[in-house]
Subunit: 403 residues, 2 copies
């Protein structure tokens, strides 16, 4: 097999851990696989460099920040290659540039435009283990760029796609994706497999493991993604296309998002296009809208409720205040003490009654549902924040996710 | 003027010092000059990375060492560019690759093959201060290389040559080149100007400031080199071509080399080519020969004396033992308690009596001279090591170098 293995900052946090990573890569190699390793900077290193930059400027030039930060991954890549060579493997490190990773020129948050895999193919053909410095690429005009938060994961997924790897393993300090947050429900079970779409909907469960843009890229490039821990040999969770999942569970997991606030607009004027105007203005202020509910009153005016991330609430209020002043809205209220509980599963597509069971479960626990939204593979409910953990545990039980 | 300024590891040893360097570059810029800065890694950084590599392997692969070490200069270059931008200058950092520095592929001790100055010319034309990561380049096959000890100085000199800079200033913690080592002769004076050839002969005086290969490159590229300190505004020493030095001093400086040993071969057989055989064998064992004296005895056999660096003495002994066993030499003796004192000055070319004065001075002090060698601009004498300081001070006085 051709396997890409990505090790994050904590997995390469010190020299001992880099040796552990070398041992694991060595085992994978000895089992007869071709291996491309993608590494992050040693944990703490990037923060140290950012602090250095901020010593000189509150707004350091982004191109220089990229020059600065990209050095951290190069160090780890070279050290791991040295360790692997010492163990008798032929290993070679590559910067993002050497690995052929071409990005746009949006410094500090560049997007991968294309990968020229020829240098990697050549090295693999020569029997070498490749160690790529993650998180970085080179712009078309030849400058070093970095990919922003979660960038090394993106490097790994994009490389796996470009070289046609059979597997892309993302190693972190978490052993995989669970049916729900084990800190809330200790009976949560690790999933063996999950589809890309389910993973995207369960973002909050995977937040500490994988960013959505890595999953989206894996889906686009059809890369089989595995999240597992570098601290044991425990098997992880395979994130793959739906067709690869034989037994489609009705519900795969329960996600909880406490980072939402509810905005309620009263007596929105009854004129054509008003809703569109409000949401366009919110979009212009970069406010992310999640769920929306509209109730039309007898007089033709409407109440509109929607949820936004707590961090966007101040911006949302400013927009809403504008409409209140212009008289388009009579008033508004805001509630940060809410949360969103979501039930996700590809099996819902072909089964009925999944949502009904969720509502029944909430009713049994006397939890009031204030908003509902559904998609093909997800049912989301907004409830009072104080019921968050109770709701998750009840739903986990109701769908027998511990079985 | 177009000025290259190079700052070594101690000059950029911490964030405060990097800010000091930014201030100095800023002043140079404000005085109306175009500036290209070349920086080393922050002091301690390279040693740290070497220690990391050695944690994994006693013989780390040289290409990986280059990948590892080249990161240090990139960090300094980016930080200095950030500091300069914050001060209102347009500054841009460049890796060795971006600066167009192409080397052979002898990793960890690469030689600069050529410099493509187009990226630097473009940036200068745009009014930018360029900050180049020193010590590094890129091989023709696209891998990062480093230039070995003193590599950042070489980067600076080569860049100054390639872009036709008026001056190449090398900033260290030493204020310039002195008539002799001030720790031996407190009356030693700093030289305003000195020719390339004198500097090369005075290597021991400049050892802590400049390596000979940088001076040789400066001579070849006709680069005006200045060594000065980054810790004050004191003027340094200009190293330039002889034609630029109006008043040619008879003697510019007195150099002392304690790192020599004397090898004496007795009764070397009288047969054609024997001396050539001995010195060829020594060369094959990488023994550096400095001075040679041969005395032919009445029976036709000869005594041959020569000096080698102390570090080559073991290798030299092994070669000599071979000739003793074959009967070509009767015996040999070795003396590490010697030193070499040299008087250097371009003025010697056109003046007589310089060597005679040296011999008289030694005689006055009752110092026995055991070997002498002379070149156009240098007189070297081997004496007992215990007289080293006395000889230096006497000669410094005799040639009135404190005046």
């Amino acid at each position: 097999m051709l396997i890409v293995q990505k090790f994050g900052g904590t997995s390469v946090g010190d020299l001992e851990r880099i040796q552990n990573v070398a041992n694991r890569v060595s085992e994978t190699r000895k089992a007869g696989n071709d291996v491309v390793v993608v590494v992050s900077a040693m944990s703490g290193e990037t923060n140290k460099l950012v602090a250095y930059a901020e010593h000189f400027s509150a707004t350091p030039e982004r191109g220089e920040v990229d020059m600065l930060l990209s050095s951290g991954e190069r160090v780890t890549a070279a050290l791991l290659a040295i360790a692997l060579n010492e163990m008798g493997h032929a290993a070679v490190s590559m910067s993002g540039r050497r690995a052929g990773i071409v990005t746009d020129n949006l410094h500090t948050k560049a997007r991968i435009e294309e990968i020229d895999p020829s240098a990697m193919h050549k090295a693999i053909k020569e029997g070498k283990i490749i160690v790529v410095a993650g998180f970085q690429g080179v712009s078309l005009d030849g400058n070093v760029t970095t990919l922003g938060r979660g960038g090394s994961d993106l490097s790994a997924v994009a490389i796996a796609g470009a070289i046609g790897a059979d597997l892309c393993e993302i190693y972190t300090d978490v052993s995989g994706i669970y049916t729900t947050d084990p800190r809330i429900e200790p009976k949560a079970k690790k999933l063996d497999r999950i589809s890309y779409d389910e993973m995207l909907e369960l973002a909050s469960l995977g937040a500490k493991v994988l960013q959505n843009r890595s999953v989206e890229l894996a889906k686009k490039l059809n890369v089989n993604l595995v999240t597992r821990t570098s601290f044991s040999n425990e098997e992880g969770t395979l994130i793959t296309k739906e067709e690869n999942i034989m037994e489609k569970p009705l519900v795969s997991g329960i996600a909880l998002d406490k980072n939402q606030a509810r905005v309620s607009l009263f007596a929105v004027k009854d004129r054509t296009g008003i809703a569109s105007e409000i949401f366009n203005k919110l979009a212009q202020s970069s406010v992310n809208i999640d769920m929306i509910i509209q109730n039309v009153a007898h007089d033709g005016s409407a109440n509109i409720d929607f949820t936004v991330p707590v961090s966007d609430l101040t911006d949302a209020k400013a927009v809403v205040d504008g409409f209140i002043q212009s008289g388009d809205i009579k008033g508004a209220s805001y509630d940060e003490k809410i949360c969103k509980v979501s039930i996700v599963g590809v099996g819902m597509k072909s089964h009925t009654g999944v949502a009904a069971k969720a509502f029944t479960t909430m009713a049994t626990e006397n939890i009031n549902i204030t908003m509902i939204s559904t998609s093909e593979i997800k049912v989301s409910m907004v409830i009072a924040e104080k019921y968050a953990e109770l709701a998750v545990r009840s739903l986990h039980d109701a769908y027998e996710l511990d079985k």
